[in-house]
Symmetry: C2
DNA sequence: TATTGTTATACTCTATAACTATA
DNA sequence: TATAGTTATAGAGTATAACAATA
């Protein structure tokens, strides 16, 4: 039935931005106030793609190379990431997180997750189970498009 | 059981940003490429709060007054919104959407919703029902915090 | 020549400080 | 005096164009 898809889409379109707004504000508050959102996303990407090149990160984040170069400068200067020239191809940059970068990512994530867990605790057990199932259904659809 | 809340929080924290990313890119692509995200959120707020003042919008969007004043300038110049001095209190600005502003909001919303519905159509009917229930459970928790 | 990244420069968005108009 | 908003100005973050180094 098409109309169920429509209703489902409408709900997702209304509720997901609300949830995202809270996630974002928590991230800022307890996570890493000294990092911009794109910088934070970059840390996240690098944590899952050790040694990625500047171009690869830029494509994922959606920035042009000069902008990403500047963004990485900021991370390197403040010791969140390390930038080395690749031994294989000396044009490429090899980007990795420092221990500080990893720790920042972990703690921001943990703080937000704890906050969410407290909020979700106000629901019934059945509702939480439903939410878990819903997220598991949504994940594969939206994972493809997010690289 | 606390651990179910934890698991639920983890799922939400991983999946919601993925969905949001797709929503945002669709909004940009088919909705209103000529509007920034804060401008778009402003249209949305004004559609639900006709005649809001500059201060009210600024607080909701999270901008300082001069920044919001400039943002509104952009909307007014391009005929998305109208700014009048309030008759009651001539210090206040009364902000409303133009027909163009309303139409832009509707069409962006519709385009995104249609896209989402197509994607959700790939799931089973049961999954879609689960998602609807999950969104309905999440909505009240996160609505409070989003004004 | 083609690819990877940086430097130079300009524009947009945001903030703080100072100001104007109204209450 | 206090409040609502604007103007002046400066700092981030982003883009395009031109360049340097490597393949």
């Amino acid at each position: 039935m098409q109309s169920i898809s429509e209703q489902c889409a409408r709900e997702v379109l209304e509720v997901v931005p609300l949830v995202m707004r809270v996630i974002r504000s928590q991230f800022r508050k307890y996570g890493a106030p000294e990092l911009s959102v794109p910088q934070f996303r970059t840390l996240h990407f690098l944590s899952q793609h050790r040694g990625a090149s500047l171009s690869e990160v830029a494509e994922y984040i959606g920035l042009m190379l000069p902008s990403m170069s500047a963004l990485i400068d900021g991370l390197v200067t403040r010791n969140f990431a390390v930038r080395r020239t690749s031994p294989n191809d000396r044009r490429r940059m090899t980007l990795t997180l420092t221990e500080r970068g990893q720790a920042t990512l972990r703690s921001a994530r943990k703080a937000t997750q704890t906050y969410l867990a407290e909020e979700l605790n106000r629901l019934t057990q059945a509702d939480r189970a439903t939410i878990i199932k819903a997220m598991q259904a949504l994940r594969p659809i939206f994972t493809e498009k997010a690289t």
